[in-house]
Every structure is written in C-alpha cells, then in structure tokens.
C-alpha cells in the first residue's frame, strides 16, 4: 500500500510540475518593421513625423534609427518635404497655417534608406464640431463609493460618415500665478460615431472620480472630429490598453490598427474643439 501511495505521489508531481522548455518552432516576422506616427489638423504650423522601427521580440536586432529617409506629405495644393531633426529625432517641416484644409486628402510617401517604400493617406474632416452641453450623473457603487458619468452632447454633421473622440484632462490652479494648468496626460479616449444616428444629437459618455483637492479647478475637454483612420487606431489602442496590454493573461489579444502600407503606425487627420468644464 505504501508503494502504491508513493507511485501516486510521483504521478501527481509529474502531473502538476509539467515540463517547460524552450519552444522549438520557427517564429515568423522577426525583422524590424518601420513605425510611422503623424497626426495633423487644420491650423497646424508644423508637421512633425516620427519614424522608428519595431523591436523583434525573439531575435537580436540593434535599435535602428532612420535619419536619411525621404519623407513627403502632399496635399491638394502643395507638397512638403520633411527633414530629420537631430534634437528631437523627428522629421519636421514648418508650414503655413492653411496647409491643412477641411475636407481635403493628404498623402504620405516615405522612402527609407534601404530603398523600402511606405505610404499612407488621410482625409481631414469637413468641420469643427461644437459641444452643445455637458452634464454629469453620480453613480453609487455597491461598495459605497461614488463615481460620475459625464455626458458630452453635440450635433452630428449630416450625410457624412463621422467619427468623434473626446479627451479630457484635469485642470488645477497654480497657487502662485493663479493660472489653470493642464495636469498631465489626457484620460482615455472616448469614442463615438454616427452609425444609426446620422445628423442627430450624439452623446459621448466619460467617467471620472470626484476630485475635491484644494487646487482642483475643473476639466479641459477636447472634442475631436476625426478621420476614420484616427478613430480605428484610437479604438484599437483603447482595446489593447484595457485588454491584453493591461497584463490580463485571459484577455483576448488586441490588434493595433495601422494605415501605413508596408509598415506600422498611423497617419491621421482630425479637427479639435476645446472646452473648460467645471462640474
């Protein structure tokens, strides 16, 4: 009987402490992929584009810098060549404030130093969108604390497929200068589109905790009328950050949208309306 128990224990240990080893499989796509980032809106006086490379996870690869790429952005009336700025490691060019115009398509062309070509395009939305109203509603949780939903209302431009994004950040008052100060990175992008409500009143719901700190002033809201590329990219980033990017091993993998042909990243246009809101 004792031997039998010992056998069972050995088997149990084998079962629980299963074998782990390096996987002997071929992993695809282990060459660095160029990554592009460029956002623009009407009124900008500087185009700034980031060009970098992804890092393969399983293959040794030096961090590549691309300082000699040919980068061109072309609009309906003009085109601009961007040059590499050593100080901030970005490709930049100064432009007139009317270079980016509402409703126009802009194209990106990049030729890398190794001869590879990247391209993309994005359309600037037709208009700015104005915020009609902002309201809040308190939510009593089962655990006793209170949170708030913020409802930002605006009208959709009819007969067009529109996409919106709301960002907001906390404002505090500088005790020395009495100026309001934007406090860090914007909260999560809250997205909406006019599916099933073309031309109607749209509402974006946001969420915040009650801030009763002594320097708290309010919230700065930015309502973006964005291109479809911008919307899809932001949506995929939100899913990533709340899902597989949050470290939850049970979350379904989230894929980051890209509109860069032969690369990763985003080239996207938007328009922006700001508003200060004091709850």
């Amino acid at each position: 009987m004792k031997n039998y128990i010992n056998i069972c224990l050995v088997l149990l240990v084998l079962f629980i402490f299963s074998c782990t080893k390096d996987a002997n499989v071929k992993i695809p796509n282990q060459k660095p992929i160029p990554v592009v980032g460029c956002f623009f809106k009407p009124g900008d006086t500087l185009i700034s584009l980031q060009l970098s490379y992804s890092q393969p996870l399983y293959a040794s690869s030096p961090v590549a810098k691309e300082t000699n790429a040919f980068v061109k952005i072309e609009g309906p009336l003009d085109s601009k060549i961007l040059t590499y700025n050593q100080s901030n490691e970005k490709y930049e060019v100064k432009i007139n404030s009317n270079f980016f115009q509402f409703g126009q398509k802009y194209s990106l062309y990049i030729k890398l130093s190794n001869g590879a070509e990247l391209s993309s395009e994005s359309i600037v939305p037709n208009s700015l969108v104005s915020i009609k109203s902002v309201s809040t509603q308190s939510i009593q949780s089962n655990f006793g604390f209170v949170t708030y939903d913020m409802f930002v209302k605006f009208n959709d431009e009819p007969s067009l497929k529109n996409f919106y994004s709301l960002s907001y950040t906390e404002l505090t008052k500088d005790t020395l200068t009495n100026d309001t100060v934007t406090n860090g990175t914007p909260f999560f992008s809250n997205l909406a589109n006019d599916n099933n409500n073309d031309g109607g009143e749209l509402t974006i719901k946001a969420f915040f905790y009650n801030n009763d700190g002594i320097n708290f002033y309010g919230y700065k809201l930015a309502l973006l009328n964005c291109s479809k590329d911008y919307y899809q990219y932001s949506e995929s980033l939100n899913k990533y950050n709340s899902g597989s990017g949050s470290g939850n091993p049970f979350a379904e993998p989230s894929f980051i949208y890209s509109n860069i042909k032969n690369g990763l990243g985003i080239f996207a246009a938007y328009t922006q309306t700001n508003k200060i809101y004091k709850p």
């Binding site: 224990l9 074998c19 996987a23 695809p28 992804s54 980033l237 709340s242 049970f250 989230s254 980051i256």
Partner: protein, 778 residues
C-alpha cells in the same frame, strides 16, 4: 394545408399497399441479460427487405403473407440467428442474441449490416467493448477521447476531452445521455469526461446529414445510451485505477420484467495526499459521478425507463492563521434525469414519451474569518432545463421508416449571481443578474425511404422555435440524406442539413473550463445557424470485414460568437454596477461567420481478432468577424490542416489482448506577440502636433497566424483476463505517450536577463505516463 394533404395521402397509400402483408415485430435483446440492443439488423434475404432495431430494441418488419418467412438477426459482436416464421397474421417475435466472445467473424449469408447500405452518412458508432480496450490517460476509459480519434473530430489541447467537429466549437455538440443534454461534459478542467464507460450501452456520433429528430446544435450529435440493467441475474464490475475507483451493479428487481443499474466512481488523490499536507493548510481536488437506471416492462406494449446522472468536481483549500481561517471552494457539476415511457400502439407504431431534466451549476465561494471580522463570497452560474418529448416510430412497410414527434424545453439561464456578506452591513452585496426563462420547441418528421433497390433516402423536416422574454425566433430546418449503389457494396452518399442553435457558450479559452457561461440567443446576439453539405463514397470490403468511407463536406455558419478583442471572461459583466448603462455580456461579444471544409478518410475493421481503424482528415476552418482582426478572415485556434488517428486492437487469445493508438495533428493556430513598438500618439492639449510615446504595444501579425508545434503521441495498453471461480479478473497496464513526446499545451514568453530578448517557452503536460487498472467482473 397542402403539405398536410400530401402527407395524409402518402400515409393512405402506404396503408392500402400493406393490406396483403403482415408485420413481425418485437424486441431484440442480449441473451443472458435481456439488455435491449440498438441497431440490430433484422433482414429477410429472399425478400430483400430489412430493418434495424431502434433505441429501445424494438423492430418491426412488414412482409407479404407466407407459410415460411426466413429472418436473419445479425449484429456486430453477436452470433447471428436464423428464424423461420409462418406469417399469416401480425406476429410478435422477440429475439435474444448471444455475444460472440471469441470475436470470430461470422457472416450469415452476407447479411452483416453494411456501411454501403446505410443512408446515414457522417456517422460512427463505437462498441463500448472497444472503448474499454483503447488505451487512455491514467487508465481512465473515456468515450469522448475515443470520439476524438475519429476523422472530422479534433481535440482542443493536450489531454482535453473537448470535441471539435467539422469546424464547430465544443458548445455546438449536442451531447445526450439517455436523451438529456449534458452542458459540461468535463471533469478536471476537461482532462476527463463525465461519462463512465461501465454504465454505457452505446455511443453514436453524427457529424453531418443530421436526421430531423435532432436539433438545437450546429455541429454534432453525441448520443449516449445507458445500460438498462441485467434482467436475469445480478452482475457487477469493480475497478481500481491510479486516479479513481469505480463500482457498477446491475440486476433484476423482478426477473425478466424489471431491472436496475447503479454505477459510480470517485477519485481519491485528495484522500491519499491529505495526511502529507501541513496541518493548517489543507487542500485537494476530487470528482465523482453516479449513474442509476431502473426499468419496468409492464406488458408487451408498455415499458418504463427511469435514469439519472449526478456528478461533481470540487477544489477546496482550507487555511488556518493565528487569528483566523479561510476556506475557498470551486465546484461544478451536472445532474440529469430522464423518465421514458414506451408504448406500442400497434405492431407498426411505436411511441416514446420522455420527461427530461438537466442542470449544470458552477459555484465559487470564499470565506475568511478573523477574530472580529468576516468576509464571505459566493458566486453562482446555472443553466437548468425541463423538457418534454413525444416521438413516434411508424414502420408501414420495409420501404419506409417514418419518425415524427414534438419536443419542448424550458431553459432557465442564470449566467451570474454573486452574494457578499461581511461584518460591515454597508458592504453586503447581493447582485443577481436577471435570469432568462426561455422555451425551445420543435416538431419534426423524417422518412427513411427505400425508393428503389439502388436508391434510398432519409428526407426530413424540422420546425424549431425559441421564445425568450421579448425575442421570438422561428426557423424551418430541411434535412436530406441520399444513398445510391454504384456497384455491389459500394455506394455514393450525399446529405444536406440546416441547423439552428439557440444558445451560446461564452468561452475565451476554448478548452471547456467550468467558468464558461451558457447564455441564450437574444435580439442582439442572434441564434447560430449552419448549413452543411456532404458527399461521400462508402465501400464494404467483405473479404476483409473492412469498411471504407471517404467524405467531403462544406459547412457555413452564421451568427457564431466570440469575445471582442480585449474582452475577458473575468469581467464579462459589470455585475457590481447598478447604473442603467451597465455593461452586459452582450456588450462583450461579437457575432461573425465561419466556414469549414475538408475531406475525411476512414477505414474501419469492427470484427475479428484484429480490430481498429485508420482515420485521416484534411480540413480548413475560417472565421470572419467584422470587429475582430479588422474584418479579415482568420483561422480559429482549433483549425487543423492534417489529423491522423490509427487505432489497433488485437486479441492474442482468451486471456490477453493488446491495443495501441497513434495520433498526429497540425498544431493549433494561436496569436503570439511578435514585435514591440511605441504606439504613436499626440499631445492633444498642446498647441502643436508634438507626439509623446506613452506606451509600448505588441504587434501580433494577423490573428492566430502562429502555429504551435505539431502534435503526435502513441499510447499502448495490454489487458490480462483471468476467469476465476466466481468472477473474471482483468488487469490492464498502459503507457500514455510511449515515446514521451513533449507536445505543447501552451506557450508563454520570458525575457532573457542577459540578452533582454524574449524567449518562447512551451509547457508540455504529460510525459510518458504508465498506468494500471485492476477490474473484477462478477
């Protein structure tokens, strides 16, 4: 109305043509136990007419009047018998056939039932005795794992009892135990199924060409029948294995009229390791299951069957601290019950009325006690059915076998309920999501129709409906199967089936965890639907007692569901959120379409000293969801290009038999992080478009674009039988994974501290594992 008229007209013609004929009907049972036998072939060779016994052993054959009709009763694994019957009136004739323990091939006038003759395609039945010979993980004989060895069927992952049929998920299998659906057929997270082979009489898998009597799932029917119990003498079987012990008893209550069967098994690793655990930290796991059946023969026309199953898995941990204690539990289990009443209206009309109950429950609890405080949490998820089914078999002539009936089921879904109790009354929570009460109903008719000597068809039609709180669905479901002889013992087959499924399983692991949630179809998450066409060739090689089938299939699926990207079953519903805009499970899932196509090759030898089969499947499965993978098609995890199974059993003599299996499959399709990069973003609240890279994200390529290593494994087993004075002893020694292949169970990434590069690591579960079981039969 027109359809009704045509049906009545057809029935009237059938009656008229049967006027100069008489019917022989009765039951076919096993000699020595009076166990009803399913699928026994009763044939009149001279008249070229035959029939098979139904689920309850009943047969009926109507033949021209004659002074001497020869009937042959034949069944694989049993000695065939011949009978000469004077047929001048309707006759009740029961048959008892004797098991052919020597497994010798006995062919009586070439009247063994043939695969080339059957209309039903995409169907396999496996004798329970074969299942008991096939080697198994830790010696635990498992019906579902044997089903995984058939072509067109894939397993989810190493050791898992999950069944994936022709591109369908585990939720798309209708698993019936004595007609009661079993919602979670897994013990120990899927490593073993809940079905105890000692209590089973038969198992049949249908992958396509579904007869109209089945409905409610898209991909397969796994129909398991429990033994009725020996009506002549007490019989028992007891076994001890590494993982569990089991005991089965069956016998007469009133000889030849009534019998019972009880069968149970339980694991005991928890009891064995208990003394070795620290006094203040006790934990363990066990599962048990229990089957019981009772039947009573009132007279030649009425029979009653009552059967039930109850099983449970439980993990538990008990800890004691200096100033308190904690307890945690995870338990899940099924309970089913079926009451069936057979009534014979006349020799050609058989009926069965069933009352069916089934329930699956998952519970998680945690209790913590400290000197002056406590915290108790209880989570619960349930699905429960009450069903009523009334089916008829009408056999007007050897050329028609008509089945019709109606069924209705009340489904109760409680996806999630949670209760929290603490010493702080303000923090107590009792959150119960609104349960769903739904009704699923169906009526069907099908006719197995011998149109000519060469052409036979099973034409059927089912109307199904589903009603929930405010959503109603109603669908017609045509079914058809055809068989046409192109040569002796060689036939072409074709089938079409449209299926609807009114419930979904929320699962993001796909391996059948008990945490998977059953939910009903709603207005937002529509019922799943599939259409499948199949074309095949079946051939009997009589000289070698071998059957061969080749089938190609194409299946379309709509409204299949998946978790949205980023969603997790850990936060499927905001259960603590009482706001009107709270998130529900419907917000976390998305619907899409799928298609599956491929070819299956199957060679099987059922009789003789050497038995077994070889199966090969070449298949593709593709899903498309608008909101997953940016709308592009992708392979689901269990897409498997090649799948091979080889199963062989050899009876050396009366005392020794050996068996071996070898399986090979293309690796699962999974999503792997391939690259990392800083996701571009921009500073919205500055005046200029200056970026700020705020987080590093992974690039995965396309969804499920990475293939795990191919899977292959060999198992062997040898059984030694010895007849003692009062019992038979069987000792089995088996080896799982003979050459200790390290098949990947899952992969994970780990950063090398020296190179800072990630390494892909694989975890393999079972190396070479010996097992033994000791069984006595008395």
């Amino acid at each position: 109305m027109r359809l009704q008229f045509l049906l009545l007209l057809n029935l009237a013609i059938l009656f008229a043509s049967a006027q100069n004929k008489f019917t022989i009907s009765g039951y076919v049972t096993e000699k020595g136990s009076k166990e009803n036998l399913i699928g026994v072939y009763v044939v009149s060779p001279k008249l070229n007419a035959g029939t098979t016994s139904n689920t309850y052993g009943f047969y009926s054959i109507t033949l021209p009047a004659s002074d001497s009709v020869e009937l042959i009763v034949t069944y694989v694994g049993y000695k065939s018998i011949k009978a000469k019957i004077k047929l001048r009136q309707n006759i009740t004739q029961n048959f008892e056939i004797e098991p052919n323990n020597l497994q010798e091939v006995e062919v009586v006038a070439n009247q063994q039932i043939k695969i080339s003759d059957e209309v039903q395609m995409s169907s396999v039945d496996i004798p329970i005795e074969q299942i008991k010979q096939i080697p198994a993980l830790l010696g635990e004989k498992d019906v579902l794992k044997v089903i995984q060895l058939l072509p067109g069927v894939q397993k989810g992952s190493e050791g898992s009892a999950g069944v994936y049929v022709r591109g369908g998920g585990p939720d798309q299998n209708l698993i019936l135990l004595d007609e009661a659906p079993v919602y979670n057929a897994n013990h120990l997270f899927g490593f073993f199924s809940v079905f105890n082979g000692d209590a089973l009489k038969s198992v049949e898998l249908i992958k396509g060409g579904f007869p109209a009597r089945y409905g409610g799932r898209l991909s397969s029917v796994i129909d398991l029948q429990m033994k009725d119990g020996n009506k002549e003498k007490i019989h028992g079987e007891a076994g001890i294995g590494i993982l569990s012990s089991r005991l089965t008893l069956e016998g007469p209550i009133v000889k030849n009229k009534s019998s019972f069967l009880v069968s149970g098994r339980r694991t005991y690793i928890d009891a064995l390791i208990y003394p070795f655990l620290p006094k203040d930290n006790k934990g363990g796991y066990y599962f048990y299951d229990f089957n019981a059946k009772f039947n009573y023969v009132f007279n030649d026309k009425d029979r009653l069957f009552v059967s039930g199953y109850f099983g449970k898995d439980k993990f538990y941990f008990n800890n004691k601290f200096d100033n308190g204690s904690s307890k945690a539990r995870l338990d899940w289990g099924n309970a089913t019950s079926t009451v069936r009443w057979n009534h014979l209206y006349n020799s050609r009309l058989f009926s069965n009325l069933s009352f069916i109950f089934t329930r699956y429950n998952l519970g998680i609890s945690s209790e913590e006690k400290y000197s002056s405080s406590f915290f108790n949490l209880r989570y619960n998820s349930t699905i429960r059915d009450f069903g009523l089914k009334y089916n008829f078999d009408f056999i007007p002539s050897p050329n028609h076998y008509i089945k019709f009936g109606a069924t209705t089921t009340w489904h109760y879904f409680l996806p999630q309920a949670i209760v929290v109790k603490t010493d702080q009354p303000g923090q107590n929570v009792s959150a119960k999501k609104t349960p769903y009460n739904t009704f699923e109903s169906g009526i069907f008719i099908e006719d197995d129709w011998k149109i000519t000597n060469l052409l036979r068809a099973n034409i059927g039609f089912r109307l199904s409906s589903f009603n929930s709180n405010s959503d109603n669905f109603f669908f017609p479901e045509p079914r058809a199967s055809l068989r046409y002889f192109i040569a002796k013992n060689t036939s072409l087959k074709a089938s079409y089936a449209l299926m609807n499924q009114y419930m979904h399983l929320l699962s993001n692991t796909g391996i059948g965890l008990p945490t998977d949630l059953w939910v009903p179809a709603t207005n937002r998450v529509k019922p799943q639907q599939s259409q499948q066409v199949a074309l095949g060739l079946a051939k009997d090689l009589e000289k070698y007692d071998v059957t061969l089938s080749i089938e190609g299939y194409y299946k379309w699926m709509t409204n299949i569901i998946s978790y949205k990207e980023g969603a997790s079953f850990l936060e499927i519903e905001s259960i603590f959120d009482n706001s009107p805009t709270q998130r529900t499970w419907e917000d976390n899932v998305t619907s899409g379409n799928g298609k599956s196509y491929g070819a299956e090759f199957f060679v099987q030898k059922k009789v003789g000293k050497f038995t077994g089969w070889v199966g090969y499947t070449l298949s593709w499965i593709k899903f498309q969801f608008d909101s997953i993978n940016f709308g592009k098609e992708f392979f689901p995890r269990y897409d498997r290009r090649h799948d091979i199974s080889v199963v062989g059993m050899y009876k050396i003599n009366d005392r020794i038999n050996i068996a071996a299996t070898w399986v090979y499959g293309t690796g699962n399709a999974i999503t792997l992080p391939l690259q990392a990069y800083s996701s571009p973003t921009h500073q919205i609240f500055s005046n200029q478009g200056i970026f700020e890279n705020i987080n590093t994200v992974n690039h995965y390529g396309d969804k499920n674009s990475f293939r795990m290593a191919n899977y292959h494994r060999m198992d062997i087993a040898i059984q030694f039988h010895k007849q003692k004075k009062y019992w038979e002893r069987v000792f089995e020694f088996g080896i799982y994974n003979v050459y200790s292949r390290q098949n990947p169970f899952f992969y994970y990434t780990e950063r090398d501290p020296n190179t800072q590069l990630f390494k892909l690591k694989q975890v393999a579960l079972f190396p070479i594992l010996p097992s033994f079981t000791w069984t006595i039969k008395f």
